[in-house]
Amino acid sequence: MARDAKKMSAPAKAAKSAGKAPFKALVTHSEELALDKALLLSMHDTMVKARCLEERLIAMYKTGHGYFWIGGPGEEAFNVPLGLLIKKGQGPAFDYLHFHYRQSATLLAMGEEGVGAIRQMKNTAGDPYSGGRNFAGHFSKKDWNLVPVSSPIEVQYAMAPGTALVQKRHGGDGITIVTGGDAGTAEGDFASCLVWASRPGQELPVLIIVTNNRWGISTPYEQTQGVEKISDRGLAFGMKTKTIDGNDPVSSYLELKEAMEYVRAERKPYLVEARVSRLYGHSSASGANFATAEADCISQFEARLEKAGLLTKAEAKAVRERYSEQFADIARAVKEEPFPDGSSIWDHVFHGEPGRDPLA
């Protein structure tokens, strides 16, 4: 992860040498706190909660209580407003969620408890998303239309048109929301999503989201992609598009609200590119240490809340301590929970059939 921190200026340098506008200048951002106090404080609370959860998962990895960590610290300012705006429920009347593996803050904002993520990190039998079968951050929750998160990058963009098609036919205001990173947009599945969502006269209600942290593991965005704004790729398909400051929860909230209202009402796609930070590297494979050179959306937000007289330093510290302790306690308890039994590997190979070894 020190490697990541050292490389922080590489994308900026590459952009400069290519004669492109600097990263920040491309993004709309408002200094105003144009939301009501209760919402601002609630967003702050959930952002901190999500950060503490991810930091607990990282600590579990580092102390041998999990094999691999991947998650979304640094994306809370975008992921929390997203979760608050989702129409949560099961079936086509509600939003279908095709997420990638950096979305714990979205789940917490939707009302999920953190214990499930901790169980998945520890791969216990009680892991509510995969029963100890999958990595951290690989959520699945049918009650909320959250389809299983997969490790292969970008496949979710190929599936999203399917749920959106059913929703378009169903009517109402349920939409499909698909998220992924900037590096993955190089995959053909991203193009598939743009093509299938914008067939003339058969446009689909999909909110297509790319969280752009400018990294694909260790490779800077500017080394691999020539398009300045990923959102511009939607223009060729006649889509509404926007690049937003995903490190600012206020503009994220307002921009997502506008985009969602459009998709819900017009039943057409909208492509949002959110510029975000990656605060603990790609995954535990690169060490999962804090990236000091990246903007931290929580400390930035806290400074603004403090300046506006909405939150003191002591209050912010108290929120963080409360969640840190809470997740530490939960993790201690989860460590004692059982792993799945080896004989359970045959369960759920086929729906509606008892698990059995077919060659036995």
Partner: protein, 351 residues
Amino acid sequence: MANMAQAVRMALHFAEENLGVTDIFGEDVGMPLGGVFTCTQGLKTTWNSPLDERGIIGTAMGIAMAGGKPVAEIQFCDYIYNTIDLLKLAGATHWSSNGQWNLPMVVMTPVGSGIRGSIYHSHSVDATATHIAGWKIVMPSTPLDAYGLLLSACKETNPVMFLIPKALMRIRGTELIPGEPTEDKALSRLIDAPLGDRTKWAAQWPTLEDASIPLGKAKTVRAGSQLTVVSYGRTLPLCAHAADAVAADGLDVEVIDLRTLWPYDWEAIKASVEKTGRVLFVNEDTEVTNFGEHLVRRTVDELFFKLLAPPKLLAGKFVPGIGLADPLEAASVPQQSDIEQAMRALIAVQP
């Protein structure tokens, strides 16, 4: 009697009317063409997709996730290979979510040689398909079986891959599909789209019946006592003809049509091999890491002491493609003469 393309079409009609099929789609699947093999002419839920196999499989998964029931077509199985990780993901969805999500979806695709399809319209996919856990894999060899197996596929709540041997697509069946008119050309007048302008044409569907054939059940198409031959798809009728041919020399061969490759009917194979003591597996996919090799392995593992001869696999040659010229195709995939030869050789072996 219906051919296999018409049987598939009638099954899909029955399925969209009675089994909740919501979307039959793929490249050129909708009208005016109704599929490059005419399997989807005149159906009410068909539509033409973008030319994008990954989009087709991904969208089918999404439709299934949202409560629809899709039948997606990959125009030739030669073009399914760029979707392999999506197929794996579809097969893994129920398992990886620990039972939360399941995908009731059918993927149908024409497979195999026999239409002089050259390098990229002659592939088989059964070895690859049976390697992907979480899928049921079906391959009929007669129109009636195609009809009944496709109905079962559409009733499934798991992903099913329905492999259609393209060499058999135009071969008329010998058994009536329940509801099919008895007069030979009557069916064509009812459900085959006319040449030329089709904008005003609509299929006149006969009243069809649910003649589902359960998945996982093989069919003994010819009883015999000296040798068991297990096959499916294009090579199945070749095996039956070969068995008839060697019967003239007094050889008595049993032929089993596996019909479902996964889960397959081991009990049928086992019972037959225990009776004959000799077994020949025949298919046309390339022979290295072939599905038939698994069947040979299981035969050796479980039936070794019942065998009078080593179990044998006759399959396609392990070459990158099937060449266009007649002699190249004939040299690449099993022909009737190859099967006859293998039958005689196996029966000649004495322990």
